[in-house]
Structures are given as C-alpha cells and as structure tokens.
Symmetry: C2
Subunit: 457 residues, 2 copies
Amino acid sequence: MHKIRSGPRAVLLLGSLLASSPALADAADSAAIREAALKDDVAWSFTEGLTTEVGPRPAGTPQEARGREWAVARLKALGFSNVRAEPYTMPVWLRGREDARIVSPFPQNLVLAALGNSGSTGEKGVEGEVVYFPSLADLEAAPDAALKGKIAFVDHGMSATQDGSSYGYFGAARRQGPSIASKKGAIAILIRSVGTDHHRVPHTGVQMWADGVEPIPAAALSVPDAEQLARIAKRGQPVRVHLTLLSKMLKDQPSGNVIAEIPGSDPAAGVVVAACHLDSWDQGTGAIDDAAGCGIAVASALQVAKAGTPRRTIRILMAGAEEVGGDGSRAYFKAHGAEKHALAIESDFGADRVWRVDFKLPKGHGALATRIKQGLAPLGVGSGEQVAGGGADIAPLVQAGVPVIDLQQDGTRYFDLHHTPDDTLDKIDPVQLRQNVAAWAVTLNLVANASETLSAN
Amino acid sequence: MHKIRSGPRAVLLLGSLLASSPALADAADSAAIREAALKDDVAWSFTEGLTTEVGPRPAGTPQEARGREWAVARLKALGFSNVRAEPYTMPVWLRGREDARIVSPFPQNLVLAALGNSGSTGEKGVEGEVVYFPSLADLEAAPDAALKGKIAFVDHGMSATQDGSSYGYFGAARRQGPSIASKKGAIAILIRSVGTDHHRVPHTGVQMWADGVEPIPAAALSVPDAEQLARIAKRGQPVRVHLTLLSKMLKDQPSGNVIAEIPGSDPAAGVVVAACHLDSWDQGTGAIDDAAGCGIAVASALQVAKAGTPRRTIRILMAGAEEVGGDGSRAYFKAHGAEKHALAIESDFGADRVWRVDFKLPKGHGALATRIKQGLAPLGVGSGEQVAGGGADIAPLVQAGVPVIDLQQDGTRYFDLHHTPDDTLDKIDPVQLRQNVAAWAVTLNLVANASETLSAN
C-alpha cells in the first residue's frame, strides 16, 4: 500500500483489484471525496456562524478574541484534536469617527475610511486644498512645494482580474502613497479605494509608515466619491476638503492563532498546514476575507478524516492579525517553524470557484502533482504554469522552503468587496463554496496520504 | 399642415409629397428626432452637472436652493424661456448622527439610516429588546403587550420587478410600520430596507406619522444588516440593540420649483408639462432620483425645439420636495392649476431604457396614441394595456383630469439604488439615457404638435 489509512472505503467501493493499484486507488478516492465534499454543509455552517455570532474581528481586539473562542469551541465540537489558541501580543490601531466634506467649490459630504495606521486629525479635523494626482507615479514625481500644507489625492483606478494580479500593482497607492505624501509635506492623503466596485463602501487596508516618516491622516474614498472628487478637481477651481479621521494606537494587545489537527498515522511524515485567517477588517463581517477560507480548510480536512486516518497530520492554522501585518503567521513560525512541515496551503481569496492549481513541490514530485491535477479536473480546475507562492498566513513557512500548493480562486468580484463594509455573508455563493471544499479535500487527501517524501532532499 | 412649426426639416428630408401627409410627416419627424436624440449630450451634461456641482439636494435645505440656482442658470444657458424658481416654504426634517449596535448576544455594529420624520433618540440613544416580525402583517397582528418598551423589527424583503410594482406593496413597511409600532408602544422600529440590493447602503424614505401618533425613532437597516439581525434573532436568544438616531425638525424653510418653457405658437392649445424633481435624498447625489429625469425632460424638450417651434408650449417642471411629500407639486398646482394643461408626463424612475408606453388620453385620441406607439417602436418600446398614472410631481394635475402618458423605464435595478448613498452618477448608463431622451422627444414632439384638442370634451 502506498498509503496508510484506517478507512476501508476505497476497498469497499472498487474492490481489491483497483485498490492494489495506487494510481487507480487515488482516482477512486478522489472521486468519492469530490462527491461527498460537493454535499458539504460544514464550510457554510462555519462561515455563517463566525460571521453571524462574532461578526467583525479586527486584530488585537475583544472581537478577535471572541472569534478565537468561537473557533476553538466549534473545532472541538467538530471533532478536531489538539484544538487550542496560541496567544501573542501586538500593537493595535483603532478606527474612530470619520467624516469628510468638500468645503468648496461644491459643498458635499464624502464617504471614506481611514487606512490602517492612519494618523488622527483630532476632533477639530484638518482642512486643506486638494492636489490631484492621476496615479502614484504622479505623486512621486511631484515637487515637495506642490504638496506642502495640502491634501494629496491619488486617483489610481483598479480593474478586476480573475487572478487578482492587479492588486499588487494598484495597491501601491495605499501601501506607499501615505509615506510619500507625508515626506513631501502633505497634511493628509486621500486615495481612490483599491477596489473594483461602484458602491459607497470604501476599501480600507493596512499601510506601514516608512522609517522616519511622520504619520498623517490617510484614507480611502469609495470609488463613486473618488470619481466625484476627480470630476470636481478637473473643473479647475481650487478644491478644499475638511477631514475628521479619529483613531488611536494601543500597545501590547492580546491576539492569537487557533490551531486544530486531524492527527496522522505517521508523525515522521511531516505536517500539512491548511491555513486561513481569523481576523477581519472592522467594517464588514469578514465573510470572503476570510471566514470562508477557514470554513473551506475546516470542511475539507473533515472530508479527508471521514475517509480514514491520513498518513500525515493535517493542521488547521487560523492565523490572527493577517490584515494588519501578519503577526499571527510570524508567531506560528516562531512556535512551530522547527517542526517538519510537508506542505502548506492557504485559502484567503474569497469563496468563488477554484479555477487553477499551481504547485511548488520538491524535485521528483511530478507524479503527485499529476495525481492532484487529475483529481481536480472534474471540478473544472485547470493547471497553470505559475509557481505557487501561498499567502500571508503561510508566508514564513514558504519562505523557509516548505512546499506549497495554490488552489486559485476566481477573484473577478473579490475586489468589489475586499476590506469594505460589504464583505458579508450574503456574498458567499454556497455552490461555489462547496466546489472549494471539494478541490481542497481532493488535494489535502492526496498530499496527506502521499507516499512521496515531500522533502526537498 | 396639421402642425405649425418653423423648422423645415421634414420637408428637406422627405420632400413635399410626404410632408403633405400628416401621418407620413409625423413618421418622418419621429425618425429624424429619434436619430438626433440618440446622439444627445444634454441629458448627460445636465445630470453630471447637477450631481457633481450641487450633489445631494434634500428638500428645504441650502443644498436644494443651490440646486434651484444651478438649474435656473443651466436652463437659461440652454435657451429656455420664462426660466424662474417659484418659491414656497415647508417644514423640514434633518438627519443627524446615526449609530446602531447589537448589544447582546453577539455585539456588533449595524448600518442603518433613519426614515424621514423619524423621532430622535437624543444623544444618549435608546436600547431595548428586538421583537422580530417577518412581515408588516405580523406587526399589525401583534398584541400591544408584545411590543411595549421594545424595538420592532420588520424583515419584509422586496424582489426586483421591471415595472417597479412591488414598491407599493413592500414599501408599506416603511410608510405604515412606524405608526403601527408606535401605537403598540414600541420605543423604536427598524425595518429591512425597501430595496433589492445586497450592499451596506440603507434605503431611507419618507414616512408620515398617522394622526395622534407619537413619533418614535424609525430606521431602515441595509439589507445585509437586516439579514444579519434576522439570523441572530432566529437563534432564539434575546437580542438587545442600542440606537442613536439624531434628527431635528425645522419650520417654514424655503423650497421651490423651477420652471422653464419652450414657448408654443398656439397659446390656446394648452401647455404640455414635462416633469421631474430637483430635490433628492440626502445621502446620495440623486442621480437616478431624479437628476436624470430632469436631464431627460430638458434634453427632449430641446430636441423638439430644434425641430421647430411646437404648437403647444412645453413647460419643464422641476419640482422641489418630491421626496418628502410633494410640496412642490402642490405648489405648482396651486399656482398653475387653472391654466389649460394639454398633457403631463414625468420622468422619475431612473434612466434605464424606456420599455413600455401607457396612455390616459381623452376619448377620441386613439390616433395620437397610435402615432406615438409607431414613433416609439423603433426604440424597442412596446405598448401596454395599463392606464397611465403619472408620478408624484404631476399627481395634482392628473388628479384634476389632465391627460397623461407614462414612458415606463426599466426598473429592474432601480431599487438597488433608490434612496441610498449609492444613487450616484456612475449608475447612469449614457446609452440608455439617450434612449430615454429619444423616447421622450418623439412623444413630446407628437403631443406638442398634435392637431387634436387634448381636451376631455
């Protein structure tokens, strides 16, 4: 036998003739797991429960702590082993009241959300003339004199892509814009939301101040508000905006990861980490980002366990504080990085259908990749040419050389919702969620039971 | 000639043979007007300008006054005659700060908007247990004891319809729910937004307190928030909500209508009123409701004027205060009701394509209806069996027996946006807007130039 498991299903289903052939047995396993996973209710129930009974889960807050308690209780109830929270502490930025209005020439309110780590305006707010920049490059190219005492506005629009690849490019306005504007003497910065919708729901997100840079108030306008401000700016009259963005920083707040396991029969074979993050931004309930990812990881691990004890331990990692810099993934690596990790996989891109699988496996593991591709093909999942890279929750593991598989989710509508108040349960399509569970279950099953070493040497 | 006009276009286009036949001349006129109107830029420019340079225009506020000034200036610039604002005064309800949160069992914020004329909670807010009602009928059937000291929540969902006909039925939760809840002793009422979207943008709207009823705080939850509160309520634990809804009432504030005319050659033939409303709700910029309607009326009247002086005067009526009870339409009727009105037509259902025409014409005007149907058919406009009824801005005229035509706009997505912060310019499809202008121009042209009396006798 190429795998060690207690479950008799493959034998029962196809008889000893097929079971004696590893490849055919894997194909039969994948078919059975797909069929079962496409009827899964656990992922929905997990996603519905976490988003309803906890709601928003900002990192380092009591809401995130409630999320951990909720997840620990649910994972225990679902039969996972070694369920526990692993605490750490972290600094926390907390959003306060936010108001913005165009003072002149055309007085009206603007809808915005402060970016993570934004400076606070104080109760009196700040007011200044807006300087319009079509793109981040234009802001970078502006002389300091153009910005001193003014409010920068970067109007860089983002288009939807299936693979989400434009986020890296367009997200720079959020990640780097505030530091650039501050260095040039701006009193605040507004950016067009890094989002692809047209709703009055601004897209927040973290940004880190460059070394030595003075924090200034920094916020994202909803896309309709950014378009409105751009139309007004382009009319040529000076545009004055008043901003009130209150926020505060707290030191050493409690956060934590949640861990749960399906114990494997061969401890020496290494752990398969199935990751997601438990925290969310503060204005939505974090359904696509990332309750659904946790639901997918949990449900697919259970599907594998139902088929029998896997060779390798499957470890669910629900990271804390992903949204604000990855404190959870670093804490996990600090605590567990020395353990043998056979593979890491992460779901943090919503719950629309998996459409492509990418691999980063050690040399000589082509046959495993082929078995996985074959198991996924009936779910409409194609195979790409890209090298898998994982996401923030497993980044330190991947950086350390742990093999990784990406089950790429369709991101066409992900950035309509990402980091907005609109990230709520109703955005999850239960049918596509089940397809995710099936793709994950097929993959986890083959990886956890693979006879290959999954070691780089 | 069955019509009097200065424009030589029909003759130039089709020659004197066709021009000598009224029906063929009408067909030629309609074709030429359609062609020109489908290239119209005025409706877009008007809609873009009003929503950008004025923004939200709540009735009886300085913003609505800026809207009147803006419209008067633009209408004069476009060459209209007799352009003026006609003022009146009215009581005004003003929204203040709004916050809501579930206190227990699952603490989290809720997104809502107070309904027009809502009572104010005061700064301290109100807190109480939520009583869940699946529909307005359930609220009506509840004994007073079930509501005393509590917060009613009516979770009546609305589905999209092309003709908007479900608004009357489902809107009752907003229009009557607050008075019913107050009579039964509730301390506040929350309703599911009367809307068909799934965004965190609540749908406000006016409600009038029944005689003798004590105003209580009354607000609409966004649809995702209503679904969240319903999920929580259905889990069976007592649900407590804290509401802060600040608002105030002002007496005798200035509002007004804006009037502009394309003077006709035959004053005795009566005026054709082309109506829309200039005010909007406070949280969006009133693009679909109803800047676009005004843009359509203005642009189509200009298209008729370009073809030559019409027999009848076309009078643009941009009513004030439609959203809060129709003070503008009543003021218009008081000032002008005694004048001879040949017909009234109104655009107040967005700017998606006109798909059906309905009539309420005097007996013996079937030939005019036929000419209009023929002129509209190439635009994809069918003819319905319903009797036209107009809208709020022309309601007193229609009530008084003035003939009316409805160019029914496709409302499938109207209630995604209606009365929300999301009612912004980006929701206007320029191509469909031009189809509206074309349908209106064809209709106004045939009505304004009709040889028929358009009199009930």
